[in-house]
Point group: C2
Amino acid sequence: MHLDELPTPALLLDRPKLERNLTRMADRARRLGVRLRPHVKTHKSIPIGSRQLELGACGITVSTLQEAATFADAGFDDVTWAFPVILSRLDELARMADRIRLDVLVDSLVAVEALESLERPVSVFLKVDCGYHRAGVDPASPLARKLAHRIEGSGRLRFAGLLTHAGQAYHRRGREALLEVARQERDRLVELAEALRADGIAVPTVSIGSTPTMSIVDHLGGVDEIRPGNYAFYDLSQVVFGACEVSDCALTVLASVVSAQPGSRRGVIDAGALALSKDAGPTDLGHDVMGALFADYDAGRLDRARRLVGLSQEHGLVEGDFTVGERVRVLPNHSCLTAAQFDTYVVVEGDTVVDRWPIARQR
Amino acid sequence: MHLDELPTPALLLDRPKLERNLTRMADRARRLGVRLRPHVKTHKSIPIGSRQLELGACGITVSTLQEAATFADAGFDDVTWAFPVILSRLDELARMADRIRLDVLVDSLVAVEALESLERPVSVFLKVDCGYHRAGVDPASPLARKLAHRIEGSGRLRFAGLLTHAGQAYHRRGREALLEVARQERDRLVELAEALRADGIAVPTVSIGSTPTMSIVDHLGGVDEIRPGNYAFYDLSQVVFGACEVSDCALTVLASVVSAQPGSRRGVIDAGALALSKDAGPTDLGHDVMGALFADYDAGRLDRARRLVGLSQEHGLVEGDFTVGERVRVLPNHSCLTAAQFDTYVVVEGDTVVDRWPIARQR
């Protein structure tokens, strides 16, 4: 089937670009001497996760226990749940840890005590804050050492190591700024690991990673594992961060113009908040840029004359000259959230539909 | 099951509040002398749609053909697809029009011509812009009359009437401002209907409605049908608009605190963008208010000391004093988009789970 025959809105996944993105990061991890444990929250897709394993990934990272279950059902048996343990899901966590190798993470004494109450020993990362200030213990705090000692010495838990995510990269722009964050992410974790080892604590794994920092970091001495996710698809935000080019972006939304009043220079497309998500992207984009239209997809060129300025539930509001029935291709601000609004990837090569892959967005 | 036993995040639907909201709008439509055709994009739920019919609704409004299919499968046979016809879905539209009574809407000659090309006659509303400036023809323009004449005289189409949605209400605040929009929505449509009738065109139905305008409008003389949707649940945005009170809001997200660093006055809950959606709400809320925490749900009292300031994919960032493991109840900015992030309503009465209803969010 040709793209022109597809009902819209449709979530298009460019297989050659996906393959190139997956291969590049796999090669990069090998060159940097670290294991790659990709975050599958971006794609929630068995075929893509399987391809990541074929290309050498050591396992996967998930953001929810539902994702863990989806991938475990498909035979994935080495999973890190990279979200602070949810105490209301301890039973589900224990059942999953019986099925597969599951590493979880904590940043509080309350969570450590809860995990110790389980019948089976669980493998636990200490979540460290390397400057993002979302979750994680301050690596310079007494709490960081206290929790590491507690986990390692508990007798009821296995200490998996240290884990961080430099989400602050999403607030920086350009190669130098990203490189500074990438070094901070690496150095804070490696320093804490060395301090703990000097205290006699074995730190099996030092795990770091965000797509922008891992796309750019200069070396990873002292790091064992990286966990980027978005790199499979990239998106407009990653272009703005300086982590990729427009031509690297593998995920787009195909939409139709459904309304365009004569003389108004505005229109409506059939991709709204439930296609693109209402992620406003980095503040540089402005709160009225909800994605970008392509002028020429094959050339990787965005439209500068026509803009996507707003989203309601099913309506995308566009400015510029449009014709009813015209098809447009949208580069989303945030591919992870866009993918999670659909049930299916329409897999394409050029203008041809070559496959359809389900998206496991259960909640 | 008690709420305290529920794994989080969970989408809670307060059945007594839902019932009260549904009853109130049904009564209001009767008092105003109009038919009620609720928009089911808000809930995407068969049990709720069925209850709306029991309470007197004349049919339903949908935003997508997938929604139409879900409800048609459950026996709903009178549906208005309130979105400008998507030309890439004409086959699907024609199949649906063979199954049920389906009214569609257009605001362009291109769409009229496309519908005329179908083998079966289709029932068509003219979509009118009453001041929102999203889709719809300007009621004062020659195009409005031209399209109405064209549809009525086509011989291939049935003219269903005029339809509008006063989305501009979402940019107004307080009773007086909303009332002004509600009158505008009503008067522009009624005036156009009268002008067309004076031209000899039969206008079977004048259909208007948004939740804020229909919650407040003073009379509906000349209007046949209203199509509010959000009123089933309401949300924080509707409270800000002045369309409801906090105690009317039936949909909340139950979340757990998963991280709270000592002394930091910040924390993380397990309801992020894929639970609440990244709808930033009306600008009055500020771009850093992604929903509100309840201080006391039963008293309808929001927390003024603790705030939800940001969302990433699965993380909700909160400010204030929090304890890991603590449960919080979140009032979303926009209940329609929040519901569409979940598969299931956990139906509650007080603190007790009484049912679970699926959410048809297929795309």
